[in-house]
């Protein structure tokens, strides 16, 4: 075979492989929208998105997912509240303060944390965090608080990973400049290196939000899953993901389609997050 022909063939194979993921996304979009949008039409956009009641097996059924939208937002916000300070400070520590020997312990621990399946996080939440929350704050222990705490832990590896590499890519000259002005190590890191890594860290936080909002198996075990608008930090909550997974098994007809439509809403959320992620990334490159 001639070299040129072979080159063409090889690049065609690579193109086909590369298009697989694009095709997967396209197919998922088609599936989601084809089965979700008609259901939304049947239920009514506003009654679906802004309805405060979810009673899918009643006759006639009521499909309002506002409680779950709020639930996902609250739980994600909570996760950010727990995860971001811990994650950012950890990444600063790892990138700029940690002794190499300690780093060799922390880094694999974080990799392990990232590799733990979410169902195991769920068990941990159910067996440790839920009783802990119940003992300290009362109630069932399954709450926005517990879910946020667990998700906060789960998004740590994402936030730390991205933030750490952002911090490491800050030019050493900023740090040296600060030291040359008489700043201590800590001051140089927190007031010059950290601000310089701001947009990279922000990107890490957005990725963390994406992970938190899409998390399912762990949340379902610690959130209580009440399908009503959240009533308090220590009360139960149902997220969009939980709604889909809890009821998909037995659902049929419009109920099933309403669950897929819930998936569409989630998909739009993720889309927004990804777009803002690329915007932030683009800005950080400038």
């Amino acid at each position: 075979m001639k070299t040129a022909t072979r080159e063409k063939l090889v690049s065609a194979v690579f193109l086909a492989v590369a298009l697989t993921s694009v095709a997967a996304v396209a197919l998922i979009c088609v599936f989601l929208f084809a089965s979700g949008i008609p259901a939304v039409g049947e239920i009514g956009v506003f009654r679906f998105l802004l309805g405060r009641e979810w009673s899918p097996t009643d006759v006639p059924p009521v499909f309002g997912i506002l409680p779950m939208i709020l639930g996902s937002l609250y739980v994600t916000a909570g996760a950010i509240l727990f995860g971001v300070p811990v994650g950012v400070l950890t990444s600063v520590f790892m990138a700029r303060m940690c002794r190499p020997r300690l780093y060799r312990v922390i880094k694999p621990a974080l990799d392990l944390l990232a590799g733990i399946p979410s169902i195991v996080y769920g068990f941990f939440g159910l067996m440790v965090l839920v009783p802990l929350t119940r003992e300290i704050f009362g109630g069932t222990g399954k709450s926005i608080f517990t879910a946020s705490l667990l998700l906060g832990i789960m998004i740590l590896p994402t936030i730390i990973g991205v933030s750490e590499s952002a911090l490491r890519s800050v030019p050493q000259s900023y740090y040296e400049g600060a030291l040359a002005l008489g700043a201590s190590h800590t001051r140089a890191v927190y007031f010059t290196v950290l601000p310089a890594a701001k947009s990279g860290i922000f990107a890490g936080v957005i990725l963390g939000i994406g992970r938190a909002i899409g998390e399912t198996m762990a949340v379902i075990m610690v959130a209580g899953n009440q399908a009503r608008a959240p009533t308090g930090v220590f009360k139960g909550v149902r997220t969009l993901t939980a709604n889909i997974v809890m009821e998909m098994g037995y659902s049929e007809g419009l109920h099933r389609e309403a669950l897929i439509a819930t998936g569409v809403v989630l998909f739009v959320f993720i889309l927004i997050i990804n777009v803002s992620f690329s915007l932030v990334k683009r800005r950080s490159k400038q």
Partner: protein, 284 residues
Amino acid sequence: MRRVFAFCFILLLVLSGCSGRGFDVSREIDVITREEGSGTRGAFVELFGLLQKGEDGTRTDLVTKEAGVENNTNTILTTVRGDESAIGYISMGALDGKVKALAIDGVAATTENVVSGDYTVSRPFIVVTAANPSALAEDFIAFILSRDGQAIAAKSYIAVAPQAPPYSGDAPAGKLVVGGSSSVSPLMEKLIEAYEAANPNANVQLQTTDSTMGVSKTIEGAYDVGMVSRDLKLTESGVLTDTVIALDGIALIVSPENPVSELTREDIRRIYTGEAATWAEVTR
């Protein structure tokens, strides 16, 4: 890794040790339910009158929206075991001895009481056939009532003929349509699978609808065998031959730390509608 687990376990022990300060009846009841669409929830709301039926065919599930929702039996067991003010319900076959099954109206939640009919939080799984069923339908029902079929039923439900002899049919050939109650359907699916293994000549189709369809379609002749998960009305049982193949009992469970061991049906209805919010309102 093992050390980490050990640490968590010890933490848990310490925590559970902290809770030994006596049961507080003024605490809110942590109501736990199954998700909408689950068969167990369907049976539960039906048996406790938590499904309000309107004249015009409307159905409203009255279980309080404040109830925690779990989508599997194991999570309910774990949750109830750890939370002394929780109450939940599971299929009786899943009881594991680490939670306390409540007596209802003074009758303990045991298999014997379900079989004897004293424990009423249960429902029969019934198959119905036309007055003169085909040989294949008869053989299939014989299989269900044999030791083999009942062993399958006993895995998740309560067998009605635990001492039955093994299946010894002559493997008649033909096609069989089984349809009806979605509650019976999961069990029926396993029974059909085992039956087709035992009788390779048979071709059994399963159609999942509901109990009412199970009766009416069998009368029409569209189903050879109908599945029903409630007691038959007199009018229906006149036309059809009915056979109870298994019993489904539902146990109300609380933590072993909870001193309550008995409730009335009315108490449970009030708990699950949210009328009774604290244990004080249902303990006397």
